[in-house]
């Protein structure tokens, strides 16, 4: 299959410093927060890949790396035959890939400039990257996009505070698809919306993918939503991929204990208690021990092996990967 995106051994470490005073002339010891730690996966052309994990697992950092808003510490990001990890984030604005990888933000309100009308927001990428400067062509294209995402044209002159959350989400989507990107990254696109609107936006996204032939990287913590839109799912925990596989297979038979917990956490009517079997607190992502499984301490399985060797992401069946010494328990 033809891969649109291939991420190889990608790492992003953020330096954190203990700023507490610890004596004159001593430089505070520097620590590294392992936000994304040796992550590899690929995304086939036209595929929709889900990225699941809890806050702080590095999914937002991964999104910012792939959209080239921040520079990776190490690793490769192959997009359309080019290693875009090499382009410095500073120069990404003028690189061709910028129009090809676009992002729909989590918070539709926060991602719109309060001083721009809906029209201005949608027109922005067309003006900067699409080289459309004539006002009538711009007008036509923006109206066409508004139609495509189901945004009434009378709303184009409104400011973000004058339209509803669902309408803002549509503006954000219209802006992201304005340049017909090959890869659209959706960063929890419906988490700030009400269920009634969520359903509309999810259906819109499914339609757009079909009509425009885009590939999706769908980031979410809501497994019920991921199921609806994604062919394959990647599960991340503290900067590492713990499981990866076909959506249905993964939901039917999760292999990693964390994936199991995530699925158990989906509310079920009248069960009165969740089946989540986790304990303790997550390990610190700052200077983690490279030999200890990241899930150690929360996992019900506390074998010696888990404390001595980091489990690697291994293929279990075709297209099914898991990083655990004791999968399927």
């Amino acid at each position: 299959m033809n891969n649109i995106l291939e991420v190889n051994n990608l790492k992003k470490f953020f330096p954190t410093q203990n700023r507490v005073f610890n004596g004159f002339g001593k430089k505070p010891p520097s620590h590294l927060l392992h936000a994304v730690d040796n992550v590899s996966f690929s995304l086939a052309s036209g595929e929709s890949l889900g990225l699941v994990g809890e806050s702080g697992c590095g999914k937002s950092t991964l999104v910012r790396l792939i959209t080239r808003l921040i520079d990776p510490t190490e690793g490769e990001i192959w997009f359309a035959g080019e290693n875009i990890a090499r382009i410095p984030a500073q120069k990404a604005a003028r690189h061709g890939m910028r129009s090809q990888i676009q992002l729909v933000f989590q918070d539709p309100h926060d991602s719109l400039n309060p001083r721009f009308t809906a029209f201005d927001s949608i027109a922005e990428p067309l003006k900067r990257l699409g080289n459309i400067s004539q006002s009538d062509r711009l007008q036509n294209r923006v109206e066409e996009l508004a139609d495509r995402v189901g945004l009434s044209q009378t709303l184009l002159t409104r400011f973000p505070h004058q339209i509803s959350g669902g309408q803002k989400a549509r503006v954000g989507i219209a802006r992201a698809i304005a340049l017909n990107p090959k890869l659209l990254i959706l960063d929890e696109p419906t988490s700030a919306l009400d269920v009634s609107v969520q359903a509309i936006i999810l259906r819109l996204l499914a339609d757009l993918r079909e009509t425009l032939g885009m590939s999706y990287l769908f980031v979410s913590h809501d497994l019920n939503v991921v199921r609806l839109l994604c062919d394959r799912v990647v599960v991340m925990y503290l900067g590492k991929i713990v499981e990866m596989g076909n959506t249905n297979a993964l939901f039917r038979q999760p292999l990693h204990p964390y994936t199991k917990a995530l699925i158990a956490a989906i509310p079920h009517p009248n069960s009165r208690h969740s089946a989540v079997n986790l304990k303790g607190e997550p390990r610190s992502p700052i200077d983690p021990d490279p030999h200890v499984c990241r899930f150690y301490g929360r996992c019900f399985k506390e074998a010696k092996q888990c404390h001595q060797t980091m489990p690697l992401l291994q293929s279990k069946e075709s297209d099914r990967f898991v990083a655990c010494h004791f999968p399927e328990i």
Binding site: E54, A206, A265, I266, H268, S274, L278
Partner: protein, 329 residues
């Protein structure tokens, strides 16, 4: 709108009776709640569900007596243990609040004082409401911390909120709310912003503690699935009206109000695919100015001429199942 007199049995702890709340804004009066009635028995967990803007938080705040200054209770009674909370003195209400009624807030970090140790904060509540000598107070705090499943309570006693994760902070606010063994706890979106696994753990905790202490719990949430899992009964709100109340299983098996049915159809769950996810048309009506008798009228496909002419009454359609609709299922 005529309402049936809520039956006040021995067991009924909280009875909200035809409560109406208005907000004076610069652009007219918002009728945030109109003739809202429901009751809550000791030890019962009732969920109030609805989209944002449906008035569920206003209802919680009004019950706690902590409405914003702009909000005015225009009619109705809030009977707590057969005492009308709207008639008693502010000082009496303050006494009840924290001791007999308590609240778990949406954003745990904002509900905690950032520069005071968490143990001290719980002690403050005990000092204000419980007659305990200082030594026993500390004991009680440690007891509470272990009750909310915080490991190593004597060490966490000295922690500041920023040192704890979001889930931990929410556990602390639960400990705060339960410090004086209240008879009623109102949880306003207690798990919004928490990870799914943490959400499950926090909800499990609330439900377990409620069962242990025979505490009545009002869970306010936009998440229908979550409410379905943990609540005995559900109250469905739409645009300041209660449209349906029923036992959770009844509500899901036989929703009687068109809005409830649509809400269920719009909520993703593991058995649904995208084609079966049906959006709800339209938006919540503007609550300023003239409103039809039924505020769901413009979004409803079962609307008839009766909806415009006959005021809504709440009908009993089953065992403890009430619906406010002329053309209900």
């Amino acid at each position: 709108m005529k309402e049936m007199q809520p039956k006040t049995t021995q067991e009924t702890l909280l009875a909200v009776d035809r409560l109406s709340v208005e907000f004076a804004t610069r652009r007219g009066t918002v009728r945030a709640l109109e003739n809202v009635s429901f009751d809550l028995k000791a030890g019962e967990i009732v969920g109030i569900v609805g989209e944002s803007g449906s008035g569920k938080s206003v209802l919680a705040f009004a019950t706690m007596g902590i409405l914003d200054r702009a909000g005015k209770i225009t009619s109705g009674r809030i009977l707590f243990d057969n005492i009308d909370l709207l008639q008693i003195k502010r000082s009496q209400l303050r006494q009840k609040r924290g001791k007999e009624l308590s609240m778990i807030f949406q954003n745990p970090r904002a509900a905690l004082n950032p520069i005071r140790k968490i143990g001290r904060q719980i002690e403050d509540v005990l000092q204000a409401h419980a007659n305990l000598p200082p030594k026993q107070r500390r004991e009680r705090v440690l007891e509470l911390l272990s009750l909310v499943r915080i490991s190593d309570p004597s060490r966490r006693y000295n922690a500041y909120p920023y040192e704890l994760s979001g889930g931990m902070c929410q556990r602390v606010t639960i400990a705060l709310a339960l410090a004086c063994s209240p008879r009623l706890a109102i949880a306003d979106e207690p798990t919004t912003g928490l990870d799914v696994t943490t959400q499950a753990a926090v909800m499990d905790l609330i439900v377990d503690l409620a069962a242990q202490t025979h505490m009545a719990t009002l869970l306010i949430t936009h998440d229908l699935e979550l409410a379905a899992q943990y609540c005995d009964r559900l109250v469905v709100m739409h645009a300041g009206h209660i449209v349906e109340t029923a036992k959770t299983s009844d509500l899901f098996q036989h929703p009687r109000h068109p809005y409830t049915a649509k809400l269920i159809a719009a909520t993703p769950d593991p058995e649904k695919d995208l084609a079966h996810l049906i959006p709800i048309p339209g938006n919540l009506p503007d609550l300023r100015g003239e409103l039809p008798f039924c505020r769901f009228r413009d979004r409803c496909d079962r609307a008839s001429s009766q909806c415009d002419t006959v005021p809504l009454e709440r009908k009993l359609v089953g065992n403890n199942h009430q619906v406010a609709c002329h053309n209900h299922f």
